[in-house]
Symmetry: C2
Subunit: 161 residues, 2 copies
Amino acid sequence: MRPPTAWPSAGTIGAVGLDDIHEQVGTLLSRDGQRYTTERRRLVEALARSDRPVTVESLRDADPPIPMSSAYRNLSVLERVGVVERVRTTDDRARFELSEQLTDHHHHHLVCTGCGVVEDFTVPEAIERSLDRRLAEVAAERGFEVTGHRLDLVGTCAACR
Amino acid sequence: MRPPTAWPSAGTIGAVGLDDIHEQVGTLLSRDGQRYTTERRRLVEALARSDRPVTVESLRDADPPIPMSSAYRNLSVLERVGVVERVRTTDDRARFELSEQLTDHHHHHLVCTGCGVVEDFTVPEAIERSLDRRLAEVAAERGFEVTGHRLDLVGTCAACR
DNA sequence: ATTTATGCAAATCGTTTGCAAACCT
DNA sequence: AGGTTTGCAAACGATTTGCATAAAT
C-alpha cells in the first residue's frame, strides 16, 4: 500500500503508477481464479485515466470501443475481486471507478442532478475522523458490520445552472 | 416549520402529526396545480408510517395494494413538488421517503449491501456543521449550486452477517 | 487440448407511458 | 360536462445472460 495522502484529482496515472496498479489487479484477480486479460487491462487503464467515475456508455464510445456487454461482465468481475466500485447516484446509469483500496485515495462525490456528472472531492482528515467515530457508534448500536461510508454533495453544476 | 430536533426513528405519525403533513402536502400539490387524491393520501400515509425508505414493491404488497404504475406515477409527482425523495443506494430498486423539507428530520442512511435494506440515522449537529462548511467550500470552488448532501453508512446488517 | 473470455443477440427487470375507464369539481 | 387520475398492458432502457467463437494457459 502507498501513503494515504490526498491525491491531485487528475486520474491515477503518474500518481500511483499504472504498473503498480496492474500488478495489484493481477493479484486480486488470480486470487479469485480469474485471468488478467487484455480486455480487462484496457478497462483498468480507462478507469485509471479518468479523474471521475465513468459510465459504461463512455467506454463503448472509447477508442477502440469496449463492447458494453464485455464491459459490464468484466466490471462485475473486477468489482467482485475489489478492483472497481460501482457508483449509483441520482440518474439511472451506473458509473465505475477504481476502488479506494486500489488507489489509496479516499474521496467523495459531487453529483449534479441536472446532467448526472460525478466529480471527486475530499474533506479534511479531522472531519473524516469525527465522522468515522460517529459512524462506528451507529454501526455498533445496530449490529452492522461497516465496510465504508459514502458522502455525496448534491447540486447543480456550473454547466447546468 | 417545527423544531429541528432529532426525531425518534419510528415513523412520522405522532411525531409531526399526520394532519399537519397532509396539510402541507395539499399546499405543495395545489401550488403545482395537482389534486390531493385518495390514492396520493394513501401513499403519503404509507410513507409516514414507515421509519425507513420504502420500495415500490412493498407498496404493491400493502393492504390494500397500491398498483405499481400508480405508485410510480404519483411518487414522481410527489417528488417533483417536494413531498418525497427518491433514494438510490446499492441495489437496483429505488426507495422513497417523505422529504426532509416535510418532516424537518435531517437524517442519513445505513445501507446493507447484503439485502439492500436502508435504515435512518443521524449525526451530531457539530459534525453536520463542519461538514456543511467544507461542502460549501467545495461547491464554491467548482461553481456548484448546492441542494443538499447525502451520507450513507455502508455495511452488512445483523441479519445478513 | 482444455478451460476461460469475448461479443453479438436475446432475455430480464425496474420503471415509464398509452389509453380507455373511473373520478373529482 | 370537462379535465384529471387510475390501472392494465405495452414500451423502454440499463443491465444481464445464452451461446458459438476466440483467446489464454
